[in-house]
Amino acid sequence: MILPVSSPRRIASVAVVLGLLGSCAAVLALADSSAGSSPVRRAGSAAARRAGSAAARRAGHSLRAQRPASVANPARARAGLQLMSEAAAACEAVPYRGVQIVAWWGHGGASASVVQVWHRPGSGTLAQASGTAALSAAVQQSRAGQAQDQDGILAVSSRLVTLMQVNYQIVYIGAGSADNRPAQVVELWRPDGRVAARFWLDTATKLPLRRETFDTRARMISEDAFIDLDVGETSGSDTPTANAEPWTGQLGSAGLTALRARGWPLPARLSGRLALFDASKTSTRSGEVIDLSYSDGLSEVSLFLQRGELPRSMPGWQRVAVRGTIVFSNDQDKRCLAWSTAGFVYTMIADAPATTVSQIVAALPHDDQLGFLQRMARGFRRLGSWANPFR
């Protein structure tokens, strides 16, 4: 901008205007950063006011999410482990049917869905999403799939309790209530003392009635709760049938070892202390697909691998950056991610905090993200190697 030297008043007025604009920009930036620092918490409060608040009111239990780093009282730890073990047994042995609300707060906002659940001993837990109360239009679009709405169904297994013991302190907190039923409250603490999850277990049956999960900053990221529960054998004509079948090709350690020998990259653990606890495979038109299930007792991550590479663009998928790595995502919450490297396509579906997801993605293999100079150096090395007649 060129200003005439002979107009000092104009220069002064322009300086004042620029100063005012700069001040406004600074104020806006500060306001935005302070508001943006806790999107999960804002989404959480919005959700609590709307769909998720019903379960919260019914539970009527208010506990602080963050505790000082400490070691749990041994008696409370024993009681907590005992209660969680009984919950795992109840999830296997007690027949029930009910309606759960599943709420999730992520990058893309908050969402809640209502799921009908049936359980019959020996035949597993069946679930059918009966509606999605989207708290933002973007989330509604991203969660069109019924299967994803069923993530977060309240269920505890003995395998998960074993992993919980390894990765968290299980602590009995005290009595409470959920879904108008008396309950025992158990918390899972991270090694730093922050709460990772809170369970309300039915006092009579030990079935989990409600669960809240928190990220590593103790901010709530999901809430799952029964809003209606009938315990006992169900009768009547509205009997559900399974809409899917598990993959039949179960993989044991020998099968995994054989696949690894054939070049399949099958990690035994994922970053964030998630251990491989189940593996299966199936054949598809595009080849063999391996499903690896990982958990730390609370978060569950499924990693699907198949040979091939992703196309440059895929309908319904967007390129997103996760810790500086470009991957594809088909939902706003970045819970379903895909990328390809070294001749394999990785698809990851996660029920885990965003920080855990990004940690896992960053630790898995990706195409080299070389800078310009590193790529040039590698190119010169290769050229030299090609020109070397003695190699």
Partner: protein, 177 residues
Amino acid sequence: MTHLGQRLSALIDGELDGAERDRVLVHLARCEQCRGDAIALRMLKRRMNALGETAADSTLTGRLMGLAQPHDPSLWPHGQGQGTPWSSLAFAPQAPGRVGYEVRPSWYLAAGSFGVLVAGLAAAAFMAGGPQEPPAPKVTPAVYLYQVQHAIDTGVVPATMSGSSQPVGKSAAPHAP
């Protein structure tokens, strides 16, 4: 009588030795004509040597060497005599009052060739430094099937009321474009 001919010139140049030189000298002692020719040849050679030692005028040298410099002001008819032996160097001063040096076209050519070589090497290195993996088939993840399997992994099987639809595990098939 046969005269010396070419051997006389060889004698003056000191190229004869041994018996041949003795024979030529004996002939010179007897032949008046050849002695005269030898004296004339020696004088001619001495004069030519004297001519070779004469240094050329510096101004003339500068002008001659400045022929390679088309913009050398000393070559212009009204030049001020600025042409010097140094004007033949690659970086010759430009016209008075101008800052910098003018580069000869040969240097332009050399620099251009070097630049092209460096650029070509850099481009080759950049191309060679990229990922080198064999082409693999393009695959789009069958994400719905995977979501169902993930739900099953977590202990929950998607369900429908009796007779409402076909099982997902049978109907949803992954696809590759």
